[in-house]
Symmetry: C2
Subunit: 338 residues, 2 copies
Amino acid sequence: MVRIIFKCTIIRDTMTTTASSPGNLFLCGEHAVVYGYPAIICSVEQRTAVTVTRTDNPSIEVTSAEFGTARAKIEERDIMVTTPNDELAIFLDLVRSLGLPSGFTASITSSIPVQSGMSSSTAVLTSFLYALRNEFSLPIEPSSFYDLLLPLQKKVHGGKASGSEIFSSTLGGFHRIERRDGVMESHKLCEHDLDIVIADTRVHAPTSLTVGYHVPSLIDRRRELVFETFDRIRDITNEAQKALQGGDAHKLGKLINENHHMLQRLGLSHPKLDDCVCEALDAGALGAKLSGSGWGGIMFALVDDEHAEDVRTALERTRATVIATSIGGEGTRVEEHI
Amino acid sequence: MVRIIFKCTIIRDTMTTTASSPGNLFLCGEHAVVYGYPAIICSVEQRTAVTVTRTDNPSIEVTSAEFGTARAKIEERDIMVTTPNDELAIFLDLVRSLGLPSGFTASITSSIPVQSGMSSSTAVLTSFLYALRNEFSLPIEPSSFYDLLLPLQKKVHGGKASGSEIFSSTLGGFHRIERRDGVMESHKLCEHDLDIVIADTRVHAPTSLTVGYHVPSLIDRRRELVFETFDRIRDITNEAQKALQGGDAHKLGKLINENHHMLQRLGLSHPKLDDCVCEALDAGALGAKLSGSGWGGIMFALVDDEHAEDVRTALERTRATVIATSIGGEGTRVEEHI
C-alpha cells in the first residue's frame, strides 16, 4: 500500500494518472461454473492501461486507438455527450455516476487481444475507474469496484455477466468463484506469478453457441455424462486450489490437462485448440488447456523456465497468435510515467 | 428435354420464367482437392429460384427478400444502375454481359441456408442466368454457363473460385472434379436421388481459416501425415465413384464415414459436427460426414427409408438446424407456375 500511495503523490503533481489492469482467464472450472460448480479465475499479465489527465474545464475526451474518440461536457453535474461513440459510450456512463468536479482526457491502450476470452472489456473499465479515482481522489475502495462496474459489464455483454472478472482484474491473483443462492461469490486464494504461453487460435465462437446451444442440448441427451463430468471438474478445481496454495506447479499442470480432457468429453474444445495443446505438451509444457467458453478462443500452457522457449516455438509453428506471459500476478495498479 | 420445352412454351405466353437450381455439397474429397486430388461434388435438392418477368420498357429490377432491391435501366445497350445494392450488384454485372433488348423484373427466393457451405451464391446465379436465357431466348447452352459465371463467382468469393459448383448446380447429379495443369476439370458421373439429412451446426468459420491457416501449418509440421491422409482420401473418392455408379448406397455410407475420419485426423472437423455425426450413426444412418471446409458448417447423413425419420429426430435433438432432402438429382430447371 505504501508503494501505491507514494506513486499517487508523484502523479498528482502532474495532474495525470495511468492505471493498468490485467486480463483474466479460467484456470479451471469454466462451463461447470454456470451450473453452480466452483471455478478458478486468475489475472493475466496482459494489461490494458488508461491515462487520465485532469483539465480545468468541463470538457471530457475519451480516446482509444482502436475505437476512436468520444467527447462530452459536464453541465450542472450531468454529462452531455457532444461526440457520440457507440464503443466508448460505456465510459461516459461510468463518468455520469461519479459526479466529477472538472473535465479530463483519457486515453486507452491495451495488450489484451479483443474477443480472445481474456476479458479485455473488464480490464479497461477497471483501469478507467482506478485512474479517475486516483486523479480525482474519489472515496471508492477497489473492493467496491464490483458494485459500480457490474451494471456496465452487463450492458457490454447484453444483459448477462457474473462479474467474477471484475474481482480478478481489480485484485489480481487467483480467485475461487462459485454461485451461491443465485449470487456469484468470489474468494481470493493467493498470488503467484506462474509462467504461461497463450495461443489465440484465431477462431471465435460466440459464448451463446457453447453455453446456450450445445451444453443444454447435451444435457437433454446425456444428462448423466454431463453432470458426472462436472463433478470431476469440481474435484479438479478443489485439487487445483490446493496445488496453487501449496505452490505445486507440476501437480497443477496435471490437473489442467485433465480439465482439458473433461471439456473435450463435453464437445467444448476445437481441433485447433487440441492441436495447440498437443504441441505444447510435446514441447515440455507442465500442462495445457483451453480457457473460456471453447469452440475457439485461447489455450494456455503452464511452463517452467527450462521449456518456456520450446513451448513458445512449438505454438508459433501452429501459426496461432502466441503470447508468453504470466498468470496470478498483481491486480489494478497505478503505473509510473515514463 | 421434351418436358422442359413444353414448360417453356407455356411460360413464354405469360412473359414469365421461373428457373431453380440446386445447392451443392462435397460427397468426398474436400481439402485434398486443393492439392490436386479428386473430389466428388453433388447437387442438393435445396434450391434457389429466380422468377424473371419481361417488361416492354428498359427498366430492370432485381429483388431478394434477404438483400432488398437493385434497379437499373438499359440505355444504348449499356446498363445504368439507378438503385445500387452491393449484395445484388453481381446480377447487374451478369445482365451487362448479355445485351438484352428490353427490361425485366427478377425476384429471388432460396431454401439454401446462406453461409452453410451449400453454394447458395452459385445456385442463385445459375437460376438467374437460366431464367433470363429462357425468357429472352438467348442462344446460351447450359454447358457454357461455366465460362459466363466463373468470373462472377470469383468476384463473389474475393478472387478465388474453382467453378466446380457451377457444373454441379447447372447439370445436377454427381461430378468428379480434379485439378489438371492448374485447371479444375469436372466430369459428370451419374444422377441418383439419394436421401440425406443435413444438419447445419450454426458454427461458421471462414474457409481461409482451414484452407489458408490450419492445413498449411500442419503440412509444415506433419507433412507425411497430411499427404498419407490425402492419399487415403483419393482412394475413398475412387471407391465412392464406383459405389455411386453401381448404386451401392451401403458401400457409399461406409466410405463417407471413413472420409469423415480422415478429415478428423487432419483437425478439420468440429465437436458439434462430430456430435451430429455420432447421433446420426447411432440412429441408423448409412454414413455421415462433414461437407466443405470444416470447423463448422454442415454435416450430412446418408439414410435409407427405414431410418430417415429416426436420423432426423436424432439430429434435431442436437438443436442443429436440420433439413431432410436428397442429393444427386436434377440441375437447373424451369419450374411450372402455380
